[in-house]
């Protein structure tokens, strides 16, 4: 289920709200969405239904919880991006990223630690 994490803009914004508030009562959720996204009640409910059908969230006893994490989505999007723009090559991605940036020592150390962590 690769496309489980493929979210449209509206879906992503909605998920962000749920991630922040979960577990959240669905009525409460419609209230938040009305304020944050300008959605009417039926719009929120049909979005919940749509995402439940995709297995991304569940709605039990009027309580909405997510089944995927924000990190899952971010990772998926990053993969897609690197794959599409840099032919899946992480080094060329990082090279391009570093070209226009300067890193503080702190940042450089933490990135280095990350890289060490994934090296087999």
């Amino acid at each position: 289920m690769e496309n489980l994490f493929k979210l449209f803009d509206a879906e992503y914004k909605f998920m962000c709200i749920v991630w922040t508030h979960e577990p959240v009562n669905s009525t409460e959720l419609t209230r938040i969405c009305e304020k944050e996204l300008g959605w009417k009640k039926p719009t929120t409910y049909s979005m919940i239904k749509k995402l439940c059908e995709r297995g991304i969230m569940k709605n039990e006893k009027a309580t909405v919880t997510t089944l995927i994490t924000r990190e899952d989505v971010q990772k998926y999007e990053a993969d897609v991006f690197i794959h599409r723009v840099f032919d899946g090559s992480v080094p060329s991605f990082i090279a391009s990223f570093l070209q226009s940036k300067t890193l503080s020592n702190e940042e450089a150390r933490s990135i280095k630690a990350m890289i060490d962590g994934v090296v087999k």
């Binding site: 803009d9 509206a10 944050e36 996204l37 300008g38 959605w39």
Partner: protein, 570 residues
């Protein structure tokens, strides 16, 4: 349905002339702010929606608002009369060549059939376009369903390519994602100008009107040009409101957000397909000098008034009009005869009508020389030989065009229709139920005298009037006939039924004749003409059949006349 369709056709023709005028005026207004070009389209919209307009002497309209008469379906020689020869002559040639010639023995006229079929095709096209528009709207609605609020009435979504305004009551502005804040600023101004001008209502409304006139390419072009003017005037409004020069940036936004035209009924989208022209317009934008705006404003105002009103109808009748009236007369006699025949037992009304139609056609339609349009209608006395009683004297109607005419007589037990030769007083029987025969021994002039023994009064009444008195003329107004001719001393006036005016020869005053009765939704008029001792008729309109009001007094003669006015002889 056919009647509605003819009304639509008439509006379409009138509006096309106005639309062509607007297209010309747009060229003149090229340097002026586009808002003026945009405003001009309102008069086309008006013409497309209303079959009537105000009459004024201050009118530029070259065309008649009723080019296609409602009675065309009964016409022996159907024709269209806009008053613009350039249009009429080719159109009428086509009508005459394409349609099979009228065969009077057929119960229906080819143009009648043609118009009926066309009316349904028109309705189908209209419904199809409406459905298309509704589906398009629903589709768009669905697409922006999950658009998320940015602020106020602005929403964004990744499902659209160009910003647009959607909604009727509380319109919302929809943005695609990833539009830079600088772009956002003036796109927003553009869309807000649309909202302020109610363009989000005007455009769908204009589309509905377009759908009504879908068969007319001029209206399609008008719709596209109007959309263009709408957008360009909005572009200009944004540029005018912004102090710094954003022409370059603005054009770039137009380009980057331009879309292929995917739907005829675009919402008022920012990047519509006529982007090229809009970019040119934006790049050439200069704040307009005040005097250009003032001149343009005056020009547009004069234009709007001039094309919203119709030319007042006092104008000499053309040969075609004369022919048209002659035709209507034939229709009338045809109708009359079939009514008479309904009472006959020996012949079916259809047969009688067909026979009458053929004779009337032969005797009036074909042989009429264009110049002979003099018609008189009189109630006369005719001596008749009936199978029951020799030499009965009966009242009969005579209708004359020139020397020729039709004589119809009816009684409780017989009906008669004959062709009358006014010069000789001879009557040839066309059809006579009950073996009756007119003995044409009384010279016509003598009969003429008999017709006016004492009171010398003519009653014109609607077809359902049953006034039938020797001393009173009765004229039945054909329901399909939508105009009547009233002449005074050689000046002709012809007008649709709801526009009948009579000009008094003595004082020059103009009187309006009220439509006083409606039968089956068809307006009828009734009025008296009384002949005074001096031999001059007085026209009396009656607002009901019992209470006459004198509304005009003077040298008015009733009838039709090309060169010599018809006189009602005492």
């Amino acid at each position: 349905m056919t009647a509605l369709f003819i009304t639509i056709l008439n509006m379409s023709i009138t509006a096309s002339f106005v639309a062509l005028a607007v297209m010309l005026a747009r060229v003149l207004l090229k340097k002026a702010p586009k808002i003026f070009s945009y405003a001009l389209w309102s008069v086309v919209l008006f013409r497309l929606m209303f079959p009537f307009s105000i009459e004024s002497i201050f009118s530029f309209m070259p065309a008649s608002p009723a080019a296609i008469p409602q009675d065309i379906i009964y016409s022996q020689a159907p024709s269209v009369q806009t008053g613009v020869q350039l249009f009429d002559i080719p159109v009428n040639t086509v009508i005459n060549n394409v349609l099979p010639p009228v065969n009077p023995t057929n119960s229906v006229n080819p143009i009648h059939v043609f118009l009926e079929v066309a009316a349904y095709a028109w309705l189908a096209g209209f419904i199809a376009l409406l459905l298309y528009a509704v589906m398009g709207y629903i589709g768009l609605r669905r697409r922006v369903r999950y658009a998320t609020l940015v602020r106020g009435n602005i929403f964004e979504t990744d499902k659209i390519k160009t910003p647009f305004v959607l909604g009727f009551i509380r319109p919302k502005i929809y943005f695609p994602l990833n539009i830079g804040p600088a772009q956002q600023d003036y796109i927003l101004k553009h869309e807000q100008t649309h909202i302020k001008r109610r363009d989000y209502i005007i455009k769908p409304f204009a589309f509905i009107v377009l759908a009504l006139h879908w068969f007319n390419p001029v209206i399609w072009i008008s719709y596209l040009l109007m959309s263009k003017d709408m957008e360009m005037s909005c572009d200009e409004a944004v540029l005018r409101k912004t102090n710094e020069d954003i022409r370059g940036d603005y054009s770039a936004s137009l380009l980057s957000l331009s879309v292929e035209r995917v739907s005829l009924l675009n919402p008022i989208a920012f990047g519509e397909s006529n982007v090229k022209e809009r970019v040119v317009n934006v790049l050439c934008f200069k704040k307009t000098a005040k005097w250009i705006s003032v001149v343009s404003f005056i020009f547009a105002a004069v234009f709007l008034v001039g094309f919203a009103s119709d030319t007042a109808f006092y104008q000499p009748a053309s040969e075609q009009e004369i022919e048209r009236v002659t035709e209507r007369f034939e229709v009338y006699v045809y109708e009359l005869h079939s009514r008479i025949e309904r009472h006959a037992d020996t012949i079916s009304p259809e047969e009688a009508a067909a026979i009458a139609a053929r004779y009337i056609w032969d005797n009036f339609g074909v042989n009429i020389d264009g110049s002979v349009v003099y018609m008189t209608f009189q109630y006369v006395q005719a001596r008749m030989r009936t199978h029951a009683d020799d030499d009965a004297t009966v009242g009969a109607w005579s209708f004359l065009i020139g020397e020729r005419g039709v004589l119809t007589a009816t009684n409780m037990d017989f009906t008669f229709l004959g062709i009358l030769n006014a010069a000789t007083g001879e009557v040839i029987s066309i059809n006579s139920a009950g073996n009756n025969e007119i003995i044409a021994t009384v010279p016509f002039s003598e009969r003429y005298t008999h017709a006016f023994p004492e009171t010398r009064q003519i009653l014109l009444t609607n077809i359902h009037g049953i006034e039938n008195h020797d001393e009173v003329f009765e004229f039945s107004y054909c329901p399909q006939t939508s105009s009547i001719w009233i002449t005074n001393t050689g000046e002709r006036v012809t007008a649709p039924l709801n526009h009948i005016n009579v000009r008094c020869a003595d004082t020059g005053e103009i009187f309006h004749i009220e439509i006083i009765e409606t039968v089956n939704d068809i307006p009828h008029i009734a009025f008296f003409v009384e002949i005074t001792d001096t031999g001059r008729p007085i026209l009396i309109a009656i607002d009901n059949t019992t209470q006459p009001n004198i509304i005009a007094n003077g040298g008015i003669t009733i009838g039709m006349s090309a060169r010599t006015p018809a006189t009602v002889a005492p």
